[in-house]
């Protein structure tokens, strides 16, 4: 994104954070449980799907919910700045 340069949040980055917290095996298990329940497959998730994953983890509570709130803030920042950049471009 011009100016702010914030990349779209990625599922793999979120999963890696979870692994930093609980270890890789447990992270993959928890991630798989949530994404299966949401009907999501693979790691190529768009921002809407990643938001659903973040919401699901936030609802679970505990340490993973705190990580998920972080994903949520990054997603919101990305959406807000993308919308602002798009509006600014439309007015040029």
């Amino acid at each position: 994104m011009p100016g702010y340069g914030l990349s779209a949040p990625r599922a793999l980055d979120a999963l890696t954070q979870l692994a930093h917290c609980v270890g890789g095996v447990e992270a993959l298990q928890r991630w798989g449980d949530v994404t299966r329940r949401l009907g999501l497959h693979g790691m190529d998730l768009d921002v809407d799907d990643l938001q659903r994953v973040a919401d699901a983890f936030m609802a679970q509570g505990g340490a993973p919910a705190v990580l998920a709130r972080g994903w949520d803030v990054r997603l919101r920042a990305y959406r807000t700045l993308t919308a602002r950049t798009t509006r600014a471009g439309a007015h040029r």
């Binding site: 917290c21 270890g23 505990g62 705190v66 972080g70 803030v73 990054r74 919101r76 920042a77 807000t80």
Partner: protein, 198 residues
Amino acid sequence: MTDLAAVRAMAPSPDPRYAPERLTAVARLGLAGTAAREQVEPAVADLLDGLAARTGAETVLVNVLLADTVAVVAARGLDGWIALAGGVPAEWAMCSTTARQAAAYVVDDLAADPAWADTPLVALDGLRTYAGVPLITSEGSVIGTVCALGTAPRTLDKTVIEELALCAGEVLERLEQQAEVPGPTTVAAPGQDGSGAG
């Protein structure tokens, strides 16, 4: 090795950002939900009003440090995209430095500081001054910060840090009290519990 195989091989990190005890403390204090600001801000409103008045800061914030973002849980004088987003990426936030060093951090002129001059909050949003202190739980976990921000450079003397530190202590106390109250009830700020009405 595929990305997922690399993840599977990961052990829990010693990095304090991911420490379960720190993250659990954030959750226990009610700072992790999307509604945290609605619950925390009324409980510390008088503290932030006083801090803003005594320091002359345009914006004062209580922030929580997540893994790679900083979320605002109470604010005075905050608007624009950060208010809409509810926080900022940690790599843009001076509060990340405050948390990392677990001590007060002050920059009189961010635009003149090579560490910050080209970062978005300074170059694009016009932030010029920063002073912050860490919020450290009684168990020693750095969970967030209290900070004062401005859009004009100025010399921030030690009284600003003293005010921030005093405020941080009171904020933590109220967060702890709030966490001990069962259910959704929040701690009322002095004079806001109805007992002083009239």
